[in-house]
Structure formats: C-alpha cells, structure tokens
C-alpha cells in the first residue's frame, strides 16, 4: 500500500491502481449488491404466495370409484386423472415392450398399486386436457387418453404412444393413506 501511495502522490494521473480506483470498485460493488437486494423482493413477489402454497395438497376418497371408472379432480389448478384400471387394462399396460416407447418407462414405475393409475391430465405437448375420462369419449388407439388439440395418444399407463407429445403424462407425488384415502401433493 505504501508504494501505491507514493506513486499516487508523485503522479496522480499515472495509469495504475490508486485509492480512488479502490473506492470506485468498493462503492460500485456495494451499489450493485444494494440494487440486487432491492430487486429481489420485486421478483420474488411473483412466485406463489403462502396461501397458494398451502393449497397445494388435496385428498380424495377412492372407495366409490368402481373398477373401470375414472374421475378427474382439481389439484393446483390442474386436472388429475384417477383411473381404477381393469385387469385387461393392467395387462395391456404391462405387456408393452418398453424399448419401443418414445419415453421408455415400465408400468410398474408409474403406479404404486397396479389397479390405481394417477396422472396429471395435462398433455405434455402444449398443455391441453386429453379426452378419455368419461364413458363415450375418444380414448385413442391405445385405450388410454387422446388429446384433441394435436392428436397425441396415450396408453392405459398414461404413456405417450403416438403424436407430437414428447413425454408420458406426469405422475404427481401421491400417497395412499388409511381408509382408501388418497393424498396428492
């Protein structure tokens, strides 16, 4: 520091480090930090608020759902498909050669109990809700769901089989509680 000081005193306009450079850098760094600290809350406020986060789990009673039936429930503002699969549907889902799938995944990896398939009902292409929940709706050629927007077809495990969608239907985090209660989220 002493040598820098002498240099500064001798020739104030000389190129090189001076105390003023240090002050500029320190003030600049502190200013940048302060600006960041001021901007952070303004960005963070757009993330989900506490009440939104508190509403992020939902519970559903599975006992009234007969084999072969499906229900749709709302979770985080999105539809979740719960299908009570028949034996035929389970066998169909397990019989597929995983290597041939666009997004390879075994059926076992997508369910906790084979008769219950739980997936987020949002097409992985561009976010439409695929059809196939109600009796009479088109289920596509693989017996699962069929998206009316761009023609993606899903199988009885919710895996993408045909069409532009890149991924299988998302499996949400869920848990089976006692008395046939399912908790999603």
């Amino acid at each position: 520091m002493a040598s820098t000081h002498e240099q500064t005193a001798a020739s104030p306009h000389d190129e090189g480090e001076t105390r003023r450079d240090f002050l500029m850098l320190a003030a600049g760094a502190f200013g940048a930090f302060a600006a960041g600290a001021a901007v952070w809350p303004l960005v963070s406020q757009m993330n989900p608020a506490a009440d939104t986060l508190a509403a992020s789990t939902t519970e559903v009673d599975l006992s009234p759902i007969q084999e072969g039936q499906s229900i749709t429930i709302a979770w985080r503002g999105k539809p979740v498909f719960i299908r009570h699969r028949t034996k035929a549907e389970i066998e169909q889902a397990q019989a597929v050669n995983v290597k041939d799938l666009p997004d390879p995944q075994t059926d076992a990896a997508r369910v906790k109990r084979a008769q219950w398939l739980i997936v987020v009902g949002v097409c992985t292409h561009l976010g439409c809700v695929p059809q196939g929940q109600k009796a009479g709706e088109v289920r596509g050629q693989f017996g699962g769901w069929f998206c009316p927007c761009h023609g993606s077809a899903y199988d009885t495990s919710g895996r993408i089989r045909l069409g532009p969608a890149p991924k299988n239907l998302e499996v949400p985090a869920y848990e089976f509680l006692e008395n046939s209660i399912l908790r999603i989220g």
Binding site: P41, L42, A49, A50
Partner: protein, 425 residues
C-alpha cells in the same frame, strides 16, 4: 486515430440515427450547474427517484390487489401476510407517499426561500404546482384503495367537497361516485385513476426538467451564472452529491419502513370500511392537514356559506401558488439578500406548521380561532405582504458573481490556485 472499438462503433451508429447518447451526455454529464448549490438542491432529484420507487412498488402491488368493495381489504391483508415480501413492498409504497410529500414540501420551500420561481423560471414553478396537485389527487385515491374506515370516510368527505359547488354540486358528486354514495363504482374508478396519474406526473416532470434545463438551476445566491467559471459539470460533481443525499434519505425512509411502518398511518384504517358508522375522530393524512385546517377555518362570509367558502379557500391556497411569481415584486431572488422577506419566510413556514397542527385537532375551542388567524395570515402573506415588501424592502448588496462570496476576486484569477493542492505530498 486508432480504429474505435465495437462498443464505440455501435453507439456511434445509434447516435447518428437517434441522438440519445448525445442528449444524455448534454443533460446529465456536461450540463453546466452553478457551483454553489447546497444540500437543499438535492430534493428535486430525490423526488424523481421516489416517483420511480412509487411506480415500481405500485405496479407490483396492483398484481395482488383486488379493486372490489368485498375483496379490497382482504386482498391488502393477503399482501401483508401471504405474498412474498408483500409486507415490505406495501410498507415501502405506503411510507413512500409520506416520503414523497416530505421531499416535495422541502423542495417547494427551498424554491420559496431562494426565489426559484422568479423570471425566467415562472413556468418551471407553475409546472411544479401542477405536479403537486396531481400528487395530491394520486395520494388521496391511493389512500382509498385499502378500503378501511379512513379510506372510506376520507373518500366520502373529499368527494363531498364538490357538493359545495353552487347549482350543480350534487350532480357532480353523484357523477364522481357513480352512485349515491361512495361504493364499488367509486373504488373501481379510483383504482383506475390511481394507476394512471403517476404516469401523467412523469409527463409533467419531463416538462418540469426541460424548463429547468433551459435556464439551469437557480442557486443560493440567486444570481445568474456569468460564465464557465461559475458552473461545474453535473457529472460527477452533482451526481455524487445527489447519490450521497439519496443514501442518507434512504436510511431515513428505511427507518420508517422497518421500524415504524405505521407511524404516518391511522389505526382506524385497519378496520374494514363500514358505510353505516363514521369513526369518532377523522383526519386526513398528515400532508393534507394544513389544507384541511383551511377548509374548516372559514366561516360564513356575507352571502357565501361556510361550506363553499371553505372549499374555495382550500383550493385557493394552492391555486395562489400559480400567481406567486407575479405577487412577489422584488427583483432579488435569494432571501439571503432580503432581510425582511427572510423573516417573513420563516413566519410563513411556522404558519403552515400551525395550520397542520390545527388540522390534526378537532375544530373546537381555541383551535377554531387559531385556525382562522393562521388561514388569514396564509393569504395575507401572498396577497399583501409579498407585493408590499418587494417594493418597500431595501435588499442587501447582491454579489457580482457566484464565485465572489466564496473566492475573493470573483474566482477568475483564483482558478489556477485551485490546482495547487495536488502538489501536496
């Protein structure tokens, strides 16, 4: 000349087509500024910065606020409890209004003391009064939005002022309300206008700054710059001074935001609006108190009833500022060289504070008398004292240049000496 770098070439390309860089260089860098400005000259740029802070926090709050009588209060409480940093953003916005008025009132009194409203800065001053009026309207409508008791009854009282207008008063009030009382239509339009007005203020601020830069800043001595020896470039000298002032002011504001966020507020505004029950003691925000005092001070005058007279006096107390440049007949700008005006200035400042104190108290007993005297003096100052003092007062000799009072010999010969301290080891 060596070939310029990429940044230089890009900025030259832009500047040749859109001279924004030259403009910034002129107005924020070279802009010659009197070299003797004191810290009272910080408050203009401070006001501008607070305007930006208010707009940014306001836009963010509008993302979470619901302008409906059934949801407004709850949506504000949700901002306080659930929205990430909502408490911080709302408290900054809420206290920001008070900070804005503190800064702008200091800015105005600075102008009054140093005669900044005098030729050739009359329009600059008048645009400033327009900004003050817009700020008042914006602050009032913003205060209504949380839909607490003070919001509701403040809105009722202020909009009812217009019912004092002869013949069409009631129709105008109904039109303002969009109904027969302050209700959901009123809240919706106040929200819409509260969002719009700050951008109108930005527009008038631009004109204010254009007018300022036409003749440059006034200064504590109140005489024009006589040449380059009287001024210094705005950057870095005043940018650094403004930044320092900003730092101090932000500490002051943060003190309120973090340690006393409801200092300027009324507890009653945390009670949801109830159209069937007026709070026992209703007062406006502190920055309206002097005007509120004037409103209540005026009695019946001949054939004009007190209600109309009070409203006229209140609006008149601001409108009179528009003609101030012609009411003050003195040729000398700065109060430093006006021994009598200098005293009148301090008396006038005290008078405004007294009016604020009266406005904060119920209109009973001696408050009525004090309020009337202070109101009368307010107008006496502008309408009688200023025109007379300008003629009768004998100003002290004004220096021949800005440099003279600081550097003996007018600063011209002193200039080389200023470089000397560099040799000090």
């Amino acid at each position: 000349m060596a070939s310029p770098g990429v940044v230089q070439r890009v900025s030259d390309w832009i500047d040749h087509r859109l001279p924004i860089i030259t403009f910034m260089q002129h107005e924020l860098h070279e802009y010659p500024t009197p070299k003797n400005l004191n810290y009272w000259w910080n408050f203009g740029s401070l006001a501008g910065i607070i305007l930006v802070i208010m707009i940014v926090t306001g836009i963010v709050l509008a993302m979470h606020y619901t302008p409906h009588t059934n949801y407004a209060f709850d949506s504000v409480e949700r901002i306080m409890r659930d929205v990430n940093y909502g408490w911080l953003i709302r408290y900054v916005h809420m206290n920001g209004a008070s900070m804005f008025f503190i800064v702008v009132y200091i800015h105005i009194f600075r102008g009054l003391y140093y005669g900044s409203y005098k030729s050739p800065r009359e329009l600059l001053w008048m645009l400033g009064v327009v900004i003050l009026l817009l700020m008042m309207a914006t602050a009032f409508m913003g205060y209504v939005l949380p839909w607490g008791q003070m919001s509701f009854w403040g809105a009722t009282v202020i909009t009812s002022l217009f019912s004092a207008i002869p013949l069409v008063g009631d129709q105008i009030t109904t039109w303002l309300w969009g109904g027969f009382s302050v209700d959901n239509p009123t809240l919706n339009r106040f929200f819409s206008l509260h969002y719009l007005m700050p951008f109108v203020i930005v527009g008038v601020v631009v004109l204010h700054v254009v007018a300022l830069h036409t003749h440059g800043s006034n200064n504590p001595v109140g005489i024009d710059t006589k040449g380059p020896q009287d001024s210094i470039p705005f950057h870095p000298y005043y940018t650094v001074k403004d930044f320092f002032g900003l730092g101090v002011f932000l500490i002051f504001s943060a003190g309120f935001v973090f340690f006393a966020p409801n200092f300027f507020g009324e507890p009653d505004n945390y009670i949801p609006a109830n159209p069937l029950q007026t709070p026992p003691h209703i007062v406006p925000e502190w920055y309206f108190l002097p005007f509120y005092a004037i409103l209540r001070a005026v009695p019946d005058i001949w054939f004009i009833d007190a209600k109309l007279a009070g409203v006229v006096a209140m609006f008149g107390s601001i409108a009179i500022l528009f003609i101030l440049p012609w009411l003050d007949t003195s040729k000398v700008r700065s109060a430093r060289y006006r021994p009598i005006y200098k005293q009148l200035f301090w008396i006038f400042l005290a008078d405004c504070i007294v009016l604020g104190w009266v406005g904060a108290n119920p209109p009973e007993g001696y408050f009525v008398v004090i309020g009337r005297i202070a109101t009368a003096y307010y107008f006496l100052h502008f309408l009688v004292l200023l025109p007379l003092v300008g003629k009768l007062e004998r100003p002290r000799p004004v220096p021949t240049s800005i440099s003279e009072p600081v550097l003996k010999g007018g600063g011209v010969r002193a200039q080389p000496a200023a470089a000397k301290p560099m040799e000090k080891a």
